[in-house]
């Protein structure tokens, strides 16, 4: 079930002088089962891109196709939302119901799932986000910790069983433990076959998790490809205000200090550690 952007341009109603469209002629295809990392500095159009994946915003010109269905087709909008779940930034601000069960069940109920189905979806989603159903189902979402609220809000979208899940900065504001938990949820969904589209500021997370990286700059598609290719374009990234993952940065520093590492440029801490160990003759290949 591919997701296709065809020459997508989006302009906000009232443009600030000197600012171009939020998306500017973006064309790309996201294949089934991919883990896509969307990167770009503040104001690059990442969030607008995310909002286009499920028709929350529709292009000013061009088309977004979900399995061939244009998101601009008003009659198909419900179908698009069923297929593509979208978790906005700080989704916990959208929690509203009196209990976690009701909050998580709102989406699936709206999609017309039967009561039994809703119960099943809710239980499954709550457990998938790492919460104990019996413990939290009847609790007010507002009595939970920040990290738990975030996970309940995600469960509300996951309960609709989307084929594609778009998450905008899902780790923002969370502590390291919370970040690990949210990344774990996305990894598990991806393992089960869901296409994951993650907007992120963290090059380290994108390098580790994604198999397809989309780079936006001033609303334009600045680069696209697998992490190794995209992060090898260091100068291009720097020009648009982005960084390479920390591991690549350290490898670069080491080379400047006279320690060239064997093999391709490492993108993760683990790859970096193995390359250094090997260079120091410590057989970094052995586990």
């Amino acid at each position: 079930m591919p997701l296709a952007f065809e020459h997508v341009t989006y302009s906000y109603g009232s443009q600030v002088d000197g600012m171009g469209p939020a998306l500017d002629d973006v064309s790309l295809t996201i294949a089934d089962g991919e883990f896509v990392g969307v990167i770009g500095h503040t104001g690059s159009g990442k969030s607008t891109f995310a909002e286009h994946t499920n028709g929350l915003k529709v292009p000013t010109s061009g088309r977004v196709l979900v399995d061939g269905i244009p998101t601009s087709d008003k009659k198909a909008r419900r179908e698009v939302r069923r297929r593509v779940g979208y978790v906005m930034q700080y989704p916990e601000y959208q929690l509203f119901a009196e209990t976690v069960r009701e909050d998580v069940g709102f989406g699936p109920r709206n999609l017309g799932q039967s009561d039994d189905e809703v119960d099943r979806s809710v239980r499954e989603a709550i457990e998938l986000v790492g919460l104990d159903y019996d413990e939290v189902a009847d609790v007010s979402p507002f009595d939970l910790s920040g990290g738990q609220k975030r996970r309940v809000a995600m469960a509300g979208i996951i309960a609709m069983r989307p084929h594609i899940l778009t998450v905008d900065e899902p780790m923002a504001g969370l502590d390291p433990q919370g970040r690990h938990e949210v990344l774990g949820i996305l990894r598990e969904l991806h393992r089960r076959g869901t296409t994951v589209i993650m907007v992120s500021h963290s090059m380290d997370d994108v390098a580790r998790e994604a198999d397809h990286v989309v780079v936006l700059d001033h609303g334009r598609l600045a680069d696209e490809g697998d992490p190794r290719t995209v992060f090898s374009h260091e100068e291009r990234l720097h020009r648009i205000g982005l960084d390479v993952p920390r591991a690549a940065h350290v490898a670069h520093d080491l080379a400047e200090r006279g320690m060239d590492l064997p093999g391709p440029c490492p993108l993760t801490l683990e790859d970096l550690a193995r390359a250094i160990a090997k260079r120091l003759g410590r057989g970094g290949d052995a586990r």
Binding site: H41, Q89, S145, P176, Q177, G241, M259, A273, I276, L280
Partner: protein
């Protein structure tokens, strides 16, 4: 006299437990303090006590000797202690960025030409000069955050308390804020920075780690980050350099080549030295 002094301060939001539990610590003039802790550890409450937004139930918090519980002192305390919050939307008051940044100094009765200067400087410091005439509502979350910080910078406080200001910024934005904060500290402004980012923490001269409403670790980055297991148990992580060094030692690299340091340049130097000794 300490600039900020917590004297056995405790605070509870409700009956469920203490957000601050018998905290005694002081911040001296000119310090750059980073406060770490997982969500719910009490670090935001600690920050809010510093400008009398929260007044302790027991014990006292004093700013330049002024008791934050004294209603007559609160206006003066807030003039000395500027707060930058996590969510800048709550701090936006006007429909033009430059006016928003000018709002604070105008309220302080600063003469107009000086205000213009301060606003220009503050916007430049957060790389938002091109947006001076933009409507804050049109900005992204990260851009709004930078305007929020500029608003505080324009007040030129003695102490800047930043409560996770970088949570929504991209790496460049965060580096920019870090540079600004460091420059302000070098000019003598005391910094208290609440953060989850280890890169931010390494800038500090001192790190306070909060857990269960108490400061549990307090020292230089080198001292605090050595407590790897304790940090992990509290849901925190060590800086990249220390995690890398740990993994290298697991892979058989000797400690001399991969020392336990939070600073990447120190680790890189040790690694290269060991290579040339091979």
């Amino acid at each position: 006299m300490a600039l900020i002094e917590f004297d056995h301060a405790s605070y509870s939001y409700d009956a469920s437990g203490r957000a601050l539990d018998d905290v005694s610590l002081s911040v001296e003039r000119g310090e750059y303090v980073v406060v770490l802790g997982h969500n719910g550890s009490g670090k935001s409450t600690l920050a809010r006590c510093m400008n009398a937004l929260v007044v302790p139930d027991e014990g006292a918090v004093r700013v330049m000797g002024l008791d934050t519980a004294d209603p007559d002192a609160q206006v003066e305390i807030r003039r000395h202690v500027g707060m930058v919050f996590q969510n800048p939307d709550n701090q936006m008051v006007t429909s033009v960025v430059a006016d928003d940044v000018a709002f604070g100094p105008e309220n302080l009765g600063i003469p107009q030409p000086q205000i213009v200067q301060r606003v220009d400087r503050a916007l430049e410091a957060v790389a938002m000069t091109p947006y001076a005439q933009a409507d804050p509502a049109e900005l992204s979350g990260g851009q709004k955050q930078r305007v929020g910080i500029a608003g505080m910078l324009a007040m030129e406080p003695d102490v800047l308390v930043l409560d996770e200001p970088g949570a929504m910024l991209d790496p460049r934005g965060r580096r920019g804020v870090r540079r600004v904060v460091r420059a302000l500290n070098e000019r003598g402004i005391t910094i208290v920075h609440i953060t989850h980012f280890m890169d931010d923490a390494l800038e500090a001269g001192r790190i306070v780690v909060m857990d269960d409403g108490r400061p549990v670790l307090d020292g230089t980055p080198d001292e605090v980050f050595r407590h790897g297991p304790e940090l992990r148990a509290m849901g925190l992580e060590q800086p990249f350099a220390m995690r890398l060094a740990t993994r290298l030692r697991e892979l058989g690299v000797p400690e001399q080549a991969a020392p336990d340091t939070p600073h990447l340049d120190v680790l890189e130097e040790a690694l290269c030295r060991s290579l040339s000794n091979m």
